[in-house]
Point group: C2
Chain length 227, copies 2
Amino acid sequence: MDESTSIDLAVSTVIFALRPHESGTSDNAELAIPLVRRTREPYAARWSLPGGAAEPAEALADTAARKLVETTGLRPAYLEQLYAFGDPDRSPTGRVVSIVYWALVRPDLAATAIDDDNVRWFPADELPELAFDHNLIVRYALWRLRTKMEYSRIAHALLGDTFTLADLRRVHEIVLERRLDPANFRRQIEASGVLVDTGLTVPGGRHRPPRLYRYDSSVQLADNGPL
Amino acid sequence: MDESTSIDLAVSTVIFALRPHESGTSDNAELAIPLVRRTREPYAARWSLPGGAAEPAEALADTAARKLVETTGLRPAYLEQLYAFGDPDRSPTGRVVSIVYWALVRPDLAATAIDDDNVRWFPADELPELAFDHNLIVRYALWRLRTKMEYSRIAHALLGDTFTLADLRRVHEIVLERRLDPANFRRQIEASGVLVDTGLTVPGGRHRPPRLYRYDSSVQLADNGPL
């Protein structure tokens, strides 16, 4: 096939995690995205989504997860295909179709320092101008995350194994960018039947320590679509 | 690039339309899908989804719509990306990643005879064994159509410009495969505010002829995702 008429196939991933707000107290978490600084043209020195070329013998989701570990050291708690971005003009050096995934990473993993000057966490709502159409891709991934959080059970992938109802509500508030009434939230979550009371409470000497919950283990942690 | 390590990129489309039930009266419509008989290996003589190779200079959705017209003569009233199917083993002759779209076609267009022995409509729930993973793809597209019809305003793309509430309810009943209470359906549709009363009624001498509605023109007919 002639080089000028070929289509390259890439796989990229938008990764979300909750991280402490840089300027705030430890109580203040924000939605953050790890980006990789490009070292080659096109868009050398611009920040971009982790990813790389699709591999002929590897499933697309496996390529996404592998590239994610290789570039950022992060293993996703949730991984789902987002969209195939294929605008003919999205790369200045030839046609590249990107199969984009989105992933959620737990806070303990996201808190580990990344030992690479070319990889850095950014607040999801304060991104620089990224390479290619990656700003557009992140906006779409944010929309998908918010939509999915309202009707699905994915918030757990941004939390540890056990959490309080207040922790869970805070995840929803940060992602959805609005306050939620604590009593309403508790009613809705309890009615959904997805939480298991661990019987434990938050350690410490408080008078009425908050209960610790976990998600029902029948919850699917990875959604690979129809496959 | 070595032939054995390349990845081919294809675009295919699952097309849905309402067609008269072959064995029934004109009152009985069913959800149908046009398929194309393959004339080459692999899977020669098997039925398959319309599609073809991605074109370097053409947007993916444009390739999907063009292939659809070229093979079936059908122009979609609605077209949306479904999923990128990329299992390494889905084609016996090398790696092929298929960007799959799904489309809805209006009944007047779907009623036009297709002048090609290798193109034929099949009832969506009575498909033969198709080429590649196309049975899996159709099942996923059916799931997406049903999910989308419950929270979105796409039923109009399976109807003509004007329709009665009974027509609209029947589309939902056929796609969702269950009876809907006429009074509840009317209440929900009226509350959604998406219908415009044309002021017209179904022609004929009936005592109380049903009213004709159309969708609000602000409804988006094509959803190309984030682009």
